[in-house]
Symmetry: C2
Subunit: 348 residues, 2 copies
Amino acid sequence: MTKTFRRKLDFKAGRVDMSHGAGGRAMAELISSIFKDAFGNELLEQGNDQASFPTPSGGRMVMTTDGYVVSPIFFPGGDIGSLAVHGTVNDLAMAGAKPLYLSASYIIEEGFPLGDLKRIADSMGAAAKAAGVMIVTGDTKVVERGKADGVFISTAGVGVVPDGINLSGDRARPGDKVIVSGSMGDHGVAIMSSRENLTFETEILSDSAALNGLVDAMVAAAGPHLRLMRDPTRGGLAATLNELAHQSGVGFRIVEDHIPIKRQVAAACELLGLDPLNVANEGKLVAVVAAEAAEGLLAAMRSHPLGAEAAIIGEAVEDDQRFVQMTTGFGGGRIVDWLAGEQLPRIC
Amino acid sequence: MTKTFRRKLDFKAGRVDMSHGAGGRAMAELISSIFKDAFGNELLEQGNDQASFPTPSGGRMVMTTDGYVVSPIFFPGGDIGSLAVHGTVNDLAMAGAKPLYLSASYIIEEGFPLGDLKRIADSMGAAAKAAGVMIVTGDTKVVERGKADGVFISTAGVGVVPDGINLSGDRARPGDKVIVSGSMGDHGVAIMSSRENLTFETEILSDSAALNGLVDAMVAAAGPHLRLMRDPTRGGLAATLNELAHQSGVGFRIVEDHIPIKRQVAAACELLGLDPLNVANEGKLVAVVAAEAAEGLLAAMRSHPLGAEAAIIGEAVEDDQRFVQMTTGFGGGRIVDWLAGEQLPRIC
Ligand SMILES: Nc1ncnc2c1ncn2[C@@H]1O[C@H](COP(=O)(O)OP(=O)(O)OP(=O)(O)O)[C@@H](O)[C@H]1O
Ligand SMILES: Nc1ncnc2c1ncn2[C@@H]1O[C@H](COP(=O)(O)OP(=O)(O)OP(=O)(O)O)[C@@H](O)[C@H]1O
Ligand SMILES: [Mg+2]
Ligand SMILES: [Mg+2]
Ligand SMILES: [Mg+2]
Ligand SMILES: [Mg+2]
Ligand SMILES: [Mg+2]
Ligand SMILES: [Mg+2]
């Protein structure tokens, strides 16, 4: 995150509002003005989804954390337990790292059903096993009825970066291609539909999944041509591309018709008044790759189950203003901004 | 934690209650029946306050996590921000490790004052700096008003274990000496007094502090004679000694008159109906050391500011029943059990 986002927060009378957790500009400002200022160090300043550091005995490791407050706790295609593994595994994998160990901090509201807690823990354990990581340490706190909302889970993770891999959000260069691994918006729309009790011909499922297997295939295929990867979670593809534009000091041009979006998801977005580009994904990634390696990478992604619908959606361009511009279906164009305010509360 | 604690939880109709977060037997049962079952792996089974694993490039690292839900958020001697550093640094240090990197996951209630959030983050940053660790990654979630209680922080941490150090809760042997680093009960009593608006001649302050400096001095002094260390947090000294007795398969005999307790803390405990041995500490440790090295270790601890009041309080004994027995001030004896139920909610 660069200084560009800074605006003065009102520390006398200001209060946290839902936009500060929404993955857009307000959150970036809050993180920059409060947390980065207070914790200031070069590793946090890397501004990636994970911090990368040398281990005392050689080699590099990465560390990341996310809190999970999704509502409802059980949703079509997953639950807070599996999500708490996938989200953290993915933030490690986005560095090209092999995720190894997770921690799990549970904050539970008094009165929460033990059966539900077991179901969540079992789901979390199964997701960890499937992703090839171990949950090695944890913590359990209980707060009084009405002081939390069922259960919150914070997961941290560490992983090891293979020698020679060096991915970072500041590495996009003009001419590089932008690839997404599959359809946009499934997770957020699944949550919102279940919250609003919308039903469709076919149920919309969250895409929540661990991407480390796909990432291995990508690293093998593109090697040093791969510049960076990021998972478009809160704030969706729009927020991710804007973040990357600022970090790398480039613009992006993308083509609306090339962005995979499921028909049902597009329809639900219409109904809910959402733009699928702002909606969170939990099993998708955006990759930026040198142009000459793009087709090879795309082919490798498509032969993995989680990248079957991967698509090249655009490219990085020179742009001092770091805009994300999109050619629309009608041949027009528009700026894809990240949302200033709140759109989807408690999505992850 | 051993199978001894297992009791059948009612997964059909049972609900989480405050005792499940209190650091006593009910919490141990919950963790064992739900989380250890679901996540099952050898690292979690180590049963220590941190998990220890080899790094791919050689050497050993440790990882730990804690959630912080303390109420009030600002208390005499600290706040949730400094506590969230000290607690996690200490769980790493108890392995004899050098704490390196922390993550911080914030879950914030809508409407929380920005000024308070800044104060907490600044305190957290200052505590990290003082302890020589870096907060390298974080996350920020906001939930609706009434769905959390101000702010919760989950901190994870990693550290590196120096070659030749091998501390673990299962290493106490009959004849080993038990040392505490200072007075018991200060943190819990500071929180409870401020919650109940009790005032005393001199204010009771939390002992919240990072113990890694003290630990360095201890490792230097006792080397391989040091068997294990643990910080007596939730459940206090009583819970810690009972945990260690089970893990190591020994009993403990301690002497009440040798346990340092501040006069004010003892008085407040009387008033509040608390036993100081059940009360949480956040800047104290319990060490078990081979008898021949005990006096040397004690001297080293006493020359460190955070160990000035260190004392040998007893020893490990052979005991198939793994009891913690205490010679009382009146020359009698009693079993020091850990609490079955809830005593001090939201203490950390
Ligand atoms: N939700 C959980 N999932 C997995 N393991 C857990 C969970 N909660 C606790 N544990 C494990 O249980 C053991 C005891 O945890 P506990 O939180 O009591 O230790 P601590 O952090 O040293 O104490 P405190 O939290 O009071 O500071 C540790 O090995 C911890 O990793
Ligand atoms: N409370 C905080 N303290 C310190 N750093 C933070 C905090 N919250 C976020 N960050 C940092 O800000 C950057 C963006 O965090 P963000 O949570 O948006 O990333 P993400 O985890 O990839 O997205 P999501 O949480 O939606 O999955 C990261 O570098 C992260 O470490
Ligand atoms: Mg994330
Ligand atoms: Mg703990
Ligand atoms: Mg991410
Ligand atoms: Mg702890
Ligand atoms: Mg995050
Ligand atoms: Mg501990």
